[in-house]
């Protein structure tokens, strides 16, 4: 039976899933990259994703346009980012703990809203696959790369966009400086807290879209805790990718590949206990983090709040 895993069509199927399933990882971990490069560790990504997933779903469920749903996820994500920034930047709460608080808040609130506003598991018709003219007809490659829904394409477009913002804009320079030496940035008139608020809101917006990509792009349903800790893996991916966008891309693809394999193994009925298969991404997270201990690129001021003074 394992032979089926190695046929060409299965392989194409797996790779197609891999490209597709990387979407939420990409959005969430790119967003987290902005935060961490500016020195703020946001462990609440998963909570923001759940909120984004819920609001996007709810807006679409109520009959609005899919893009309005995405917009709702962005707005909710930014508000959650604002909350995180207020707690960890202005109030200087410990970033790790306040992030977990934000996660629990997002988890609880999205579940509550789901129960009161929707009640039962419903489906919507989410973003549809759109083949890109000409290239999607290429054998194999066409299906793997150019036959996806709009949010998938957007996620990949966000990789160079994020790189560009971080490395080629004045905001990006400020983000890098604030994450590495906030004192130095402050003496040059850069508002450390202002930059960190900005990255928390950018990160929140992207995490919101990551949630939306699940509820109205990939799965087209909303369930309580539907992310299953995907947001935490996204945080780990930033470490895995050494705080670089291209590293984050590589990490996202690796994890989605494991995920895709896992799904196909189940779908093909290969006799591996489904629990073991489902565990794979999480086991991967631990293994990967244990072996990527080199932290040369790590922002020196990560998870340190900044206060002016002697």
């Amino acid at each position: 039976m394992t032979d089926e895993l190695f046929t060409i069509s299965t392989l194409i199927g797996i790779l197609h899933s891999c490209v597709r399933l990387a979407t939420p990882y990409l959005f969430a971990s790119l967003g987290e990259t902005f935060g961490q490069r500016s020195g703020v560790l946001n462990l609440g990504v998963d909570g923001i994703m759940l909120m984004g997933a819920f609001f996007a779903f709810y807006v679409v469920f109520e009959g609005h346009n899919l893009w309005v749903g995405v917009l709702a996820a962005i707005v909710v994500g930014m508000l959650m980012g604002l909350l995180k920034a207020f707690v960890s930047v202005t109030m200087q709460a410990l970033q790790g703990i306040s992030g977990i608080g934000l996660y629990l808040f997002g988890l609880g609130l999205s579940s509550l809203l789901f129960k009161t506003l929707i009640g039962s598991v419903e489906g919507v018709s989410g973003f549809r696959q759109v083949g890109i003219p000409f290239v999607s007809d290429l054998p194999g490659i066409g299906h793997i790369f150019f036959n996806h829904n709009a949010l998938v394409y957007l996620a990949y477009i966000m990789v160079p966009v994020s790189w560009f913002v971080i490395n080629r804009t004045t905001l990006g320079l400020k983000i890098r400086a604030v994450g590495h030496n906030p004192e130095a940035a402050d003496t040059l008139g850069v508002s450390v807290n202002g930059v960190r608020y900005a990255t928390m809101m950018i990160g929140g917006a992207l995490a919101g879209v990551a949630g939306a990509s699940l509820s109205i792009g990939l799965q087209n349903v909303f369930q309580e805790n539907m992310t299953n800790g995907l947001g935490f893996i996204a945080v780990a991916l930033v470490y895995f990718g050494s705080w670089r966008t291209v590293g984050v891309l590589a990490g996202s693809l690796l994890f989605s590949l494991v995920n895709a394999l896992q799904l196909w193994v189940q779908a093909l009925g290969i006799p591996v206990p489904s629990e073991v298969a489902v565990m794979m991404p999480y086991v991967m997270t631990i293994v990967v983090l244990a072996f990527t201990a080199r932290q040369i690129q790590k922002p020196a001021a990560l998870a340190r709040s900044y206060e002016r003074g002697e």
């Binding site: 080629r168 905001l171 400020k174 890098r176 400086a177 590495h180 130095a184 003496t187 040059l188």
Partner: protein, 555 residues
Amino acid sequence: MNSTPTFISTGQRSIEDLFAHGISKPTAGHRAVNFRLNAPYVQMYDIVKRFPGVLACDHVDFDVRRGEVHALLGENGAGKSTLMKVLYGLYQPEGGRILRDGAEVTIHSPTDAIHQGIGMIHQHFMLVDTLTVTENVALGLKSSRGLLLDLDRVEDGIRELSEAYGLQIDPRAPVWTLSVGERQRVEIMKALYRGAALLILDEPTAVLTPQEVEELFVTLSYMKENGYSLVFISHKLQEVLAVSDRITVMREGRRVGTVSTKEMTRNELVRMMVGRDIILEQTRDEVEVGDVRLRLQNVSARGVTGQQALRDVSLSVKSGEILGVAGISGNGQRELAEVVAGLRPHSGGSVEMDEVTINDWTTARRTESGLAYIPEERMHDGIVRDFAVSENLVLQEHTREPFSHGIFLAFEYIARYSRKLIQDFYIKTPDIRTMTRNLSGGNIQRLIVARELSRQPKVLVAAQPTRGIDIGAIEYIYSQILEQRDRGAAILLISEDLDELLALCDRIAVIFEGTIMDVLDRNETTAEELGLLMAGVDPANQEGAQAGVPAGAQA
């Protein structure tokens, strides 16, 4: 054996006498200090800045003219840096006015200061070392391309300024690859690029080699000729006398006076600074040198980040001898001290105390056997900040009689013992139960010295024992170190201060990139020779060693 410091009196001239020759008195109100030469460029009047429990600036006046170097002299905690941080907008004063070209200005932030043409070179460089020189300069500036960076234009600007002021820097180099001297040039570049006309330099020479100091002074005089105003914050008298036109002396948050440098002598300045005469040159009695107490043979060790920090270091210190270790910070001094103290494993060679190899001894066993250690990072490694003074005083001995009985601490004995040490070592503290973090740097160092030296050690390792403490405490620590030497201890004194080493040591070893360059007799060497060795240049064999010299150390 007389080893108490001698005070040479310069005659009891009061501060009032000093004002008699051309020195302006502190003005009480808002009267401008009248100097005929140039009009002041920036003036500060009646500045008041309070921190919890401290009046850091107590109605201070200060002014600086175009084309002058105005030194701000005073001990640590005198309020010099605070005053300048007010001018640079890092602190908001409770009172006072700031004028530029006679017009009042408000400075609420560094951005405001930069707009007013004021730049500041901080004591600890404010550079992002993962970024390049150009990125550091561009940080926080408006870009000519709006939201996009214009690094190529900034780079051109840097090259122009480099040529104009002889500031050699590679704009594309990441800052972490630069030497200390080069980093300072980046800081100056940052200010110049922002159009600063007034440059505040906070203790700029603290981290430089003597040669780099000279280069800096050349740059400063060049800038001065070009009409720049320079404020030079320092507590080093020779430097202030060498580089400044006027000097303002501060003490305990107050301005003692502003004087013209030409009319001052070193001793007069000391009196203004400290309020009494102080002589750091200690009398040294000749002491019979005994057996080798501490010996390091081919010791190698890795540093915090895993780099090779010590290479084949061999040193020996005899009873009754002070061996100095000179070097620029970060060349392995810290690792050397930690290896001897037993805090850092070494990968090769051996450490011996009294001819016994102690390689695998724990720190506790070394301490019990007569090793005392005054660590470089006194706040982190020397004390527990949130412990009471008495608790810190018995940190090492608290498990032994008579400090404890079994598992119980002998509080009464500890209290008596602490009071005695506080008295003997002149530690200024409200109470033995005071949190140690609330003491001043000088008093914390006295506490550590009290704890370490009261055990009558055989071997003393003192790392930067006087860095950042007031001159009174420095004087006291010098006398204590000499007393230990006279008593027969072997002392390893690690310092970046060449004057200190030349004053105290019998022999001086120079460390560069983890290697001992040479060990010299104090009577047969000079600060210049030591300075060259510190930069990795062997004066005896200049050509051969040039290759290993970092770019910043060269003229």
